[in-house]
Amino acid sequence: MFNDPNRREIIRALALGLTAAGVMDADAAQHVHAATGAEKAKGPYKVKAFQPHEYQTIARLAEIIVPKDDISGSAVDAGAPEFIDTLSSQNERLAGIFHGGLAWLDAEMRQRYGKRFVEASPQQQTRMLDVLVAAEKEEAARRSEELVYRRSNDYRQFSNYTVKRPSPLGPGITFFDWVRKMSVDAFYTSPTGIKDLDYRGNRGMSKYVVPQEAIDWAMKRSPFA
């Protein structure tokens, strides 16, 4: 954070060092990166934007979307429910998307299985998401067809042309995309996600080197082998 006195001090020291000596060495650069990367200590989280049932549903969705596996934890471990709640508590429009979407999901689940999402079996939960994902793909194909068609000469000549009808699951598709993209973002921007992907950067060094073993790996598998 800007207000982290530790970071501020380091930066000031850096700036002074720069003026005086004209050179910041790689150790100093690395020091800043390490210091700014330190994680904040957090107390127990207090939910601000959602009812307990809503929050529970968000957490269950996040857990299904990015589940724990043998490499890393889940989106819940990475703080996705807190992330969604914090931003929703700052933005009514976003909160509205979740309130409405969660209610839609429960209504749809009741219709299909006679239960709300969190009370359904894991198989029923994933079955619901599979239906939404399939509908989303169809919807994407339909929109793409429409875009291309609208730009084409046919469209200019036959304005009565109609493409396929929009999916009746539209609200669910939209909501699922929101909860998915925010869960995915929360996961991959967390220390857990960064480690999962094995991102090696955001640090300073005095010399940039590309490792030979990486070069050999790619070349051997390329058409240039």
Binding site: M1, F2, I11, A15, L18, T19, V23, M24, A29, H33, T36, G37, E39, K40, I65, V66, P67, D69, I71, F83, T86, L87, S88, N91, R93, L94, T126, L129, A140, S144, L147, V148, D177, R180, M182, V184, D185, Y188, T189, S190, I194, D198, Y199, R200, G201, N202, R203, G204, M205, Y208, V210, A214, I215, W217, A218, M219, R221, S222, P223, F224
Partner: protein, 566 residues
């Protein structure tokens, strides 16, 4: 109270204005610099080296603004720069046109965020009409500007290598960083296609100069560099010029007009102090307008007087005309050979380490479009951020399989962006909207813009070439379908942020606004030192040429002042 007086008043603190105050104060000339935004404080504002998880919003900004397209234009972590829309400072676009105008309101302007590609124009770029009968020749040649490219490169610092390619003249370079693995594959693929793929030329230093530290390879140039290891006019030119005691900076100063005396000689600048909303005036001997091409043209067109009823220095009627942007087209690909590679830090010196200059400059008879483009590269293991994996999440649905696929594909994607030359046309220009003023009471710009077949055909050529490069390295094209690209495959005008040409230079007062030094034909003590002076917009990103032209113009101006000619 008398108005403050300076020998030279410079309007705008970007590449042109920054260079002007650096060069002029070094010659001992007293300058004032007017900037429509606030002072920049790198120590407070830069987010270099921060992680997304250092913030509860992870970079999505308060309330998740970035999800609604309302966040900072280049992301939360990017340096303070500006935006496509500024509160209280609108612009309009004429019916039937599309144009987006990026404006910075901060010391350093757009040099704070720009890509730092630093390419010299080629010799032939200055004489385009002689080559294909399109557009207009510049009044200067490569030989005129070459010594100033040297000066600019040596001062701001540019990495690169000596290649001897006519479309991409060599310069004074710092040692470039080595190619990354995906770039090596791209180069191999380009070799097969006869496309040169060479070390990139970016305004980053790899050895310490002028109290600036060498690059430490964190790849975060766009966030603002705490150690000033890249070029931004704020850190590299304006701050040092302030230390000379010869420069006074007026920030939050929104210029309304450049004032002239009864003889049509410029004698001052009138601006609104944004903090007090008061109208203020600074008197001067010389005025340099460098507010960005369209803002400079707007100021000139709004500076009406009995001597200049159509706007200052607009006897030719060409102020605002021949507006150009760069032709942009991008294509991404997936390269299986990169899957599972041992990971390494690909951040590097920021941006790509290689690029492809235009290679068909002597083969135009085989092409269906004039001029050319260069290719910029993307790829590597980027710092995961908000939005990084939305596309893949949609593609793979959700769950363990999605997680596995994102992991597998991490670092296996490559991207190509073409940056091509647009031919100036009479349908692309800006003027003053007669019905709209901004919150400072200043009439706003209205844009007209049209791509022609020249630009569309060039973009289709880019598309074919990028696909060939991707397929040549065993990859496949990803993203939009071929039909979608065909329907939608050229950048929205303005969005490459290379707008130039609105007060072009030329040989006389009828065919141009300025002479080859950026001096107005109609007012000898008025200079324009930004992209407005460009006669054409070659595929080389404009900043380095703005630096060089401003430097050359200031050498000339200082000499004219010494002789008493202005």
């Amino acid at each position: 109270m008398a108005n403050p007086f300076y020998d030279v008043v410079v309007i705008g603190s970007g590449a042109g204005g920054g260079t002007a105050v650096h060069v002029l104060t070094a010659k001992g000339i007293q300058c004032a610099l007017l900037e429509a935004g606030p002072m920049l404080d790198p120590a407070k504002e830069y987010k270099e080296h921060k992680w997304p998880h250092d913030y509860d919003h992870r970079g999505a900004e308060e309330g998740g603004k970035s999800y609604f397209g309302e966040g900072k234009p280049f992301g939360f972590f990017s340096t303070t720069s500006g935006g496509w829309q500024l509160d209280g400072e609108p612009y309009t676009v004429a019916p039937g046109s599309q144009f987006q105008w990026f404006r910075s309101r901060i010391i350093g302007g757009r040099t704070n965020h720009y890509g730092r590609m630093s390419f010299r124009f080629a010799d032939y770029d200055f004489k385009p009409y002689d080559r294909d009968g399109l557009g207009t020749n510049w009044p200067i040649s490569y030989e005129d500007i070459s010594p100033y490219y040297d000066k600019a490169e040596e001062f701001i610092g540019v990495v690169g290598s000596m290649e001897g390619i006519r479309s991409a003249p060599d310069g004074k370079f710092h040692t470039p960083p080595p190619a990354k693995v995906h770039e090596m594959l791209i180069k191999k693929s380009c070799d097969k296609l006869g496309i040169p793929c060479i070390p990139n030329r970016r305004a980053v230093i790899t050895k310490s100069i002028n109290g600036r530290a060498a690059c430490h390879f964190c790849g975060q140039c766009g966030r603002g560099c705490m150690t000033a290891s890249n070029y931004a006019s704020s850190q590299v030119q304006v701050f040092p010029a302030m230390k000379t005691g010869k420069l006074k900076v007026y920030d939050m100063a929104m210029v309304r007009e450049v004032a002239v005396d009864g003889n049509g000689k410029v004698n001052g600048v009138i601006y609104v102090d944004k903090r007090t909303r008061k109208e203020m005036r600074i008197d001067c001997r010389v005025c340099i307008v460098a507010a960005s091409a369209c803002e400079s043209a707007r100021i000139l067109l709004n500076s009406k007087s009995s001597a200049f009823p159509n706007g200052l220095a607009n006897g030719s009627g060409l102020v605002g005309r021949y507006l150009m942007d760069t032709v942009g087209f991008g294509l991404s690909g997936y390269v299986p050979a990169l899957e599972g590679m041992p990971h390494y830090d690909t951040d590097g010196a920021g941006g790509a380490h290689l690029y492809m200059p235009w290679w068909l400059w002597d083969k135009h008879e085989k092409l269906d479009f004039p001029r050319g483009y260069h290719i910029e590269i993307g790829g590597g293991y980027g710092l995961p951020g908000v939005g990084s994996y939305h596309g893949q999440a949609r593609r793979f649905g959700y769950g363990a399989e999605m997680k596995k696929e994102i992991r597998k594909g991490y670092g296996a994607g490559v991207g190509f962006a073409g940056r091509g030359e647009m031919i100036p046309n009479e349908h692309s220009y800006m003027e003053i909207d007669p019905g709209v003023v901004d919150q400072w009471g200043i009439p706003v710009a209205r844009f007209h813009f049209k791509w022609t077949d020249y630009e569309w055909k060039q973009a289709r050529h880019m598309e074919r070439v990028f696909a060939e490069i991707i397929e040549g390295m065993g990859g496949r094209v990803t993203g939009l379908s071929a039909a979608q690209r065909e329907a939608d495959g050229i950048s929205i005008p303005g969005t490459i942020i290379h707008e130039v040409g609105t007060a072009r230079m030329g040989t006389n007062a009828k065919n141009s606004v300025l002479n080859g030094y950026g001096q107005a034909h109609d007012a000898k003590n008025l200079f324009v030192m930004d992209g407005a002076s460009f006669v054409s917009n070659p595929d080389k990103n404009p900043t380095l040429t703005i630096n060089a032209l401003a430097w050359r113009g200031c050498d000339y101006l200082a000499e004219e002042m010494r002789k008493g000619n202005v």
